[in-house]
Symmetry: C2
Subunit: 319 residues, 2 copies
């Protein structure tokens, strides 16, 4: 069963949980446009999370999910709020969701952890999660080392629960590729940064639009917190320091507040402009609804092309 | 037009140019099995290259190509041999093929450089190459930083010449994904390491079969020669040294002869076992013909599934 059917929504697309960006307004806008919105609580505390969930309920009658960023020191309190607010589904990112799965499941909440490997995916399945989001390291923000083309089919083969594909998906061709690899739907983030509704600074949107394919890099590999961001003055400094010192504290100082600097202040040189390798495919700001419709239309064209190719190939092969 | 039609062969599949592995016997075996074999000259000099090309001509009447590894100090001499031997097509890897394109084109030889970015792909197109192989960093051996899901559609959109997809392709689902992203065909390497015909040590084949999704790593990022290999004693030592010293010479000492140690001696702890992130998908040794037939059969199943999915989605969307 495809993701849209599972969720009772129009498109088999869920929004990436972008900390500092995906607030109640944005998540509701995504859900109202026919995909699935997710409130990202990565930079929130428990009270802020409660306020955003309650606000989102007033902004849409459609389903929305909440993401718990496991490196957030408030994660445990946020999970309690999610249970109290009876959120339908929780996704988790940047870590092992093990500690919270039982509590959420006991409260009747579905859990979809983001996983970067077959091993973590299998561990999560054993804990009883409802599905996983297999995310390749092409994506923006916190990343793993496995990439979507190789990760997705291996996770699909290893599990019996639904797998959503994420990382490196930039249009309907990417959606077709993810579905070909066995995903029931896709999660996209970078494509939505350039939506009219996305509450990031105009400079950040323009940076995504101007970005070329190779304009992102990964910082933090040496301290085991790899993050994909746009190359800028901050990343050059960070990567140079990473070669010399590997003190997590020293490096963290450099990025402290840097996502906020990008999102709120529009500082494209000193901010963390999280974006994936498909940033080069985003050429203009469009309404969310248009972005989803464009995905579906290029998906349809792509599948028709593939059917024709298959016909040609089998014509040749039947000798 | 699909790659198999362009080349007059059965499958739209070309073999990866694996130095120390893809000799005349192996390339001929691949071509005789219906895909396209490539002699990899990465570890050869001009005389060895001539001998392998002449041998390959005696072993198959089907087309085969020759790869020039641009970091090979013998690259210029090898190009001269290729011109003299009237090879039909040359692929190039691990560098900028600019220096040799004119000479090869003047000799009537087609050129397909391997490219890791849109910028290099466009530069190659301007030089008049006949197509490119866009290879994502999921692959084994020398890699770039762009990954297949994100690289392939961006290269396809930027060029007017055919694009072959490579990196992270482990079965017919991966082939369908690459074709969805706009490739005219695929290049595969890791899947062929476990062919009966592949002339690598049995220990190397067993290591591919036993490998899990996350069992590869990338060495050499600090000295700008990133190479994806299986994690072992050698890579642990290398990566530890890479954190401390960044002298190319010191690091090269560690890997000197290490590919040979893997391929010929079967030393899985101290050798460079080049393999891609799809190594986890290779479960048994099979004849080449069977590997290609399995690709085509899972490709066909995959496209049928995608057509059904499209039908379901459009049923839902037509309200």
């Amino acid at each position: 069963m495809l993701l849209n059917e599972m969720l009772g929504i129009e498109y088999p697309i869920i929004q990436g949980a972008m900390a500092n960006i995906a607030n109640a307004d944005f998540a509701a806008a995504v859900s109202n446009a026919g995909a699935l919105g997710i409130i990202a609580t990565g930079s929130m505390d428990a009270n802020q999370t409660r306020a955003e969930i309650q606000k989102c309920k007033t902004l849409t009658t459609k389903p929305f999910w909440v993401n718990v960023m496991l490196m957030n020191p408030n994660a445990a309190d946020i999970v309690d709020v999610i249970v109290e607010e009876k959120v339908a589904v929780v996704t988790t990112g940047a870590g092992n969701a093990g500690a919270y799965v039982e509590k959420l499941k006991n409260a009747g909440i579905k859990v979809f952890p983001v996983v970067p490997s077959v091993a973590l995916a299998k561990r999560m399945e054993r804990l009883g999660v409802d599905g996983v989001i297999a995310e390749g390291g092409e994506s923006g923000g916190h990343v793993g080392e496995m990439m979507t083309m190789a990760l997705l089919p291996q996770v699909v083969d290893a599990l019996n629960i639904p797998v959503i594909g994420a990382g490196g998906i930039g249009d309907g061709r990417g959606m077709a590729a993810a579905l070909a690899l066995g995903a029931v739907g896709i999660q996209i983030g970078t494509s939505l940064l350039v939506s009219e509704e996305c509450p990031i600074h105009e400079n950040y949107k323009n940076a995504v639009i101007k970005a070329k394919d190779t304009d992102t890099t990964v910082t933090g590999r040496s301290v085991n917190t790899p993050v994909r961001v746009m190359k800028n003055k901050m990343t050059r400094k960070y990567l140079a320091m990473e070669g010399q010192i590997e003190s997590r504290e020293e490096l963290e100082k450099l990025t402290l507040g840097s996502l906020r600097r990008a999102v709120v202040e529009g500082d494209v040189q000193n901010g963390s402009l999280m974006m994936g390798q498909i940033a080069g495919m985003s050429k203009e700001v469009k309404p969310l609804k248009q972005i989803f419709e464009d995905y579906m239309s290029s998906f349809n064209t792509c599948i028709e092309n593939l059917s024709n190719i298959q016909g040609e190939l089998n014509g040749k092969n039947t000798k």
